[in-house]
């Protein structure tokens, strides 16, 4: 039982860290620029495709990952300069529509370029198997993901919490006009944050590619999870995104793992078998609704 | 204070590290014009927001027309007979002046429910007749058909007043009605308020001291979130603490 809980905790951590990579960029774009970006998931998808394509071309996962991230960052730059700049000052409805349109364009373009069938991305050969830790086996690749996720999360935290740029970013999220008045190049800051968010998307997409499948539509399901994360954490807060991501990752994983067992112990087998997965799949949404009910601004509101 | 229409007891509110209001005791007697003055940043607007229900206090209570109103929402206070005008003009600029006031009339409990889905409002003569009367009362009778957005600043302020009046309040909260108006418009506004004061109790927040001393029956002074003095205009004029606050502020 302890092994089960330990393994599930690792799984939750891995899932949560990946969600954090996605949510970090989203929450900053959202918080600083007050811009809803539904196409954030599409950046994740396109990033994963870039990584898969580059990895195939270079026959190396790691080179592919680097190239894919660079490609996604470049795409982010182009998008920011051409479209998002126009959107920052528009109402939420316009942002929803324009970025929904981007999803349509991204999905269809990927279909045109790479075809409708999913791409397969394999982890590096050396990481394909399990490793033994404390007497049980755990997939080596998932451990690597956890490692990368932790390093990036730590770097991001230091960057935002300690560096001068991070101070501007935090200031921008808390009060945009004030930051502008202090003579900081907010435009440049926006562009940098957006590009950075795109790169993080590609990193998550590339890392998850070998575990999941690189396919059209992969961005949408994860986008909603990322939104749940930042709503729970509080829009604009990196700390909130980290906490929210870990909460969602853990709750979702443990819910899926433990709920059916718990229900089986209390309900008739038939009811438990149907109710379990249903409840597990809506658990995070229930959690979000509950948190919003008590803290309408999320756990760590960036604006006082 | 048996006949206090509005009574505020020990009202306190903190924003982050700032005590915006500290234990404010305050009352408005039925029939009077009570002016609230104080230097910039003294907490006057915060106070009005608490009275009107836009903000909730940390502690203390508000009583209106003999009933506890601390927990009532803004619209419930309006329905209880408390109307307010805004410091910054806050009318529906895309509507005619008449439509603006008609909307206010329509919101009144005695005008019936607004959950009506079929009959065009345009066919409800009574709403508009009444709205015209209120417009006339504030001297906008000839501007009824004009878009609110096209009215002059002073006229928009008057329209605000008409909308507040249309809710048939017992107490009118006027938040700096003279703000941004020229001397001529100011004079007209003072006249108008004087005229209204015969029918309704008024809580007036104002910077224009001439207007305040001309209109007010009583004056209260708020400084740094504390009510330092309440009294007749002459008493307030003589009050040492008030003088210090004001003069110190201005010098």
């Amino acid at each position: 039982m302890t092994q089960l809980v330990l393994e599930q905790a690792l799984n939750g951590l891995q899932f949560g860290l990946m969600l954090f990579l996605l949510a970090a960029g989203l929450t900053l774009v959202f918080g600083i620029m007050d811009c809803i970006n539904l196409a954030h998931g599409s950046l994740y998808m396109v990033g994963a495709y870039f990584v898969a394509a580059a990895a195939q071309a270079a026959d190396s996962f790691w080179i592919g990952l680097g190239a894919g991230i660079a490609g996604a960052a470049l795409l982010g730059l182009l998008l920011e300069l051409s479209l998002f700049r126009q959107l920052y000052r528009r109402d939420h409805l316009s942002q929803v529509l324009a970025t929904f349109a981007l999803i349509l364009i991204a999905n269809e373009s990927v279909r045109v370029i790479w075809g409708p069938a999913p791409l397969m991305l394999n982890p590096p050969e050396s990481l394909a198997g399990p490793v033994e830790i404390a007497g049980f086996f755990y997939p080596a690749y998932r451990l690597v993901i956890i490692g990368v996720g932790l390093v990036v999360a730590a770097l991001l935290y230091l960057l935002v919490a300690k560096s001068r740029v991070g101070m501007w970013v935090r200031a921008g999220a808390a009060n945009r006009e004030m930051t502008e008045a202090l003579g900081i190049n907010v435009r440049g800051l926006f562009t940098a944050v957006f590009v950075f968010g795109a790169a993080l998307c590609a990193l998550a997409g590339g890392l998850l590619g070998p575990l999941l499948a690189v396919q059209v539509g992969m961005g949408e399901s994860v986008l909603i999870l990322a939104f749940v994360v930042i709503i729970i954490g509080g829009i604009g807060s990196i700390r909130g995104a980290l906490v929210g991501a870990l909460i969602v990752g853990t709750v979702d994983t443990l819910g899926r793992a433990l709920l059916p067992t718990l229900l089986r112990a209390t309900l008739p087998a038939d009811a438990a078998a149907t109710l379990g997965p249903a409840l597990a799949s809506i658990l995070i949404y229930l959690l979000m609704a509950a948190i919003l009910f008590f803290k309408p601004q999320g756990l760590f509101p960036a604006r006082a | 204070m048996a006949d206090a229409l509005l009574e505020v007891r020990a009202l306190s509110r903190r924003f982050a590290a700032v005590d915006a209001l500290q234990g404010v005791n305050f009352s408005v007697t039925a029939g009077e014009v009570h002016a609230l003055i104080g230097p910039n940043g003294a907490g006057k607007t915060t106070f009005i927001h608490h009275v009107s229900g836009a903000l909730r206090p940390d502690s203390g209570s508000i009583h209106f027309a003999g009933r506890e109103a601390t927990r009532l929402s803004m619209h419930e206070r309006v329905r209880a007979g408390m109307a307010r005008s805004y410091q910054i003009t806050n009318v529906f600029t895309g509507q005619s002046a008449l439509d603006n006031v008609a909307l206010a009339v329509q919101g009144r409990p005695d005008a019936g429910s607004s959950f009506r889905f079929w009959r065009p409002v345009a066919a409800e003569r009574r709403l508009f007749d009444e709205a015209v009367a209120f417009l006339e009362q504030v001297g906008l009778g000839d501007k009824a058909g004009q878009l609110a957005g096209h009215l002059s600043h002073g006229e928009q302020r008057a329209l605000e007043l008409a909308m507040a009046l249309a809710t048939k309040p017992q107490l009118l909260l006027l938040d700096e009605p003279m703000a941004g108006t020229g001397p001529e418009e100011s004079a007209r506004m003072v006249e108008l308020i004087e005229h209204l004061a015969r029918h309704v109790t008024i809580l007036l927040v104002e910077h224009d001291m001439d207007a305040v001393f001309r209109l007010a029956d009583r004056i209260s002074v708020l400084v740094n979130g504390r009510l330092i003095c309440t009294g007749l205009p002459d008493e307030v004029r003589q009050d040492a603490e008030v003088r210090r606050a004001y003069l110190g502020d201005h010098l």
């Binding site: 749940v228 799949s281 | 806050n90």
Partner: protein, 315 residues
């Protein structure tokens, strides 16, 4: 934005369009194109769904990204009714509207406590919850959805023929549009539009803003449920796909193409989008790229939509 006022030539335009729509099935049959009767029914139903969202979004000013939940619930009510042996449309349709409306009342009561993006996201979350609930419930067919093997009747008349269902959809749409048109100029419509413009001012005029918003939200949900029940009878099933958030997005796109807050916005948007889809698709398999570019163009250059031509805001 000001309150909705109909254009002067609206009545004439509506009468002509209605006459054309009444004649349409005959015409299609004469041209041996009766397939398009089913297609036209679909357009009418989506016009109804989009118009119901327009009530919430355009008139009520509430950006909901979960409207498909009510649409889908309406469809499921129709399928569950069929399953339970209730085949009378006079019963099924009001029931669908009622259930969807009550659910919208519940969702609205919680969501309307939040503002701005939080509102958008919490409506989305509720729709996702509903989606996963239906996907996981074996009693309602789970991922398979629920079939309706035989269309309901209406007042005893069979709806088996595509023409019959077409006329029912047309009738329901006409009635709902009449209601929407009336309410827009009645007390309720003016109230919610004023709330859309300035919520605090309305509160300060004594309006219980929350209650009006909630009723508007629930009314929109109820009409969406009506549309869902009709769609389920057209396609012969209630499918969880109807509840997906992309479906909410599609409805939103329809409203925005048509014109937010214009009475005919939802209807025009549904017609334009579905016609584009039906006919562009044969030409250009990847027409979503074109649609996406078109939408971005609308956002950047024509944010008022197509129906802006059909109703003016005075001033």
């Amino acid at each position: 934005m000001a309150f909705y006022r109909p254009a002067r030539w609206q009545n004439a335009a509506v009468s002509v369009s209605l006459a054309m729509l009444i004649a349409l099935p005959e015409l299609l049959t004469a041209l041996d194109q009766s397939y398009y009767t089913g297609f036209a029914t679909r357009v009418l139903i989506f016009a109804l769904a989009a118009s119901s969202l327009n009530l919430v979004l355009g008139f009520g000013g509430m950006v909901s990204l979960g409207h498909a939940a009510f649409f889908g619930i309406g469809a499921y009510v129709a399928a569950i009714c069929y399953d339970a042996g209730i085949h009378e449309g006079l019963l099924v349709l009001p029931l669908a509207a009622l259930v969807a409306g009550l659910f919208a009342l519940l969702v609205g009561a919680i969501s309307l406590r939040t503002r701005g993006v939080y509102f958008i996201m919490i409506t989305l979350a509720f729709a996702q919850m509903t989606y996963y609930l239906f996907i996981s419930s074996s009693a309602w067919g789970g991922d398979d959805g629920m079939p309706i093997y035989e269309r309901m009747q209406f007042a005893g008349f069979s709806l088996l023929a595509d023409e019959a269902l077409y006329y029912l959809a047309l009738g329901v749409l006409a009635l709902c549009m009449l209601l929407f048109a009336r309410q827009a100029q009645a007390r309720f419509g003016r109230t919610v539009q004023a709330i859309r413009e300035n919520e605090t001012r309305m509160e300060a005029l004594g309006y219980p803003v929350f209650r009006y918003r909630l009723v508007c939200f629930a009314l929109g949900g109820a009409v969406a449920g009506l549309a869902g029940a009709l769609l389920a009878n057209l396609t012969g099933m209630a499918s969880p796909n109807l509840l997906q958030w992309t479906q909410s997005g599609t409805l939103l796109v329809m409203v925005i193409i048509g014109g937010v807050g214009y009475l005919w916005g939802g209807l025009v948007g549904a017609v334009v989008l579905l016609l584009l889809e039906e006919f562009l698709l044969a030409w250009f398999e990847h027409w979503h790229i074109a649609l996406g570019l078109l939408l971005i163009g609308i956002v950047l250059f024509a944010p008022r939509g197509v129906a802006a031509l059909f109703g003016k805001h005075h001033g």
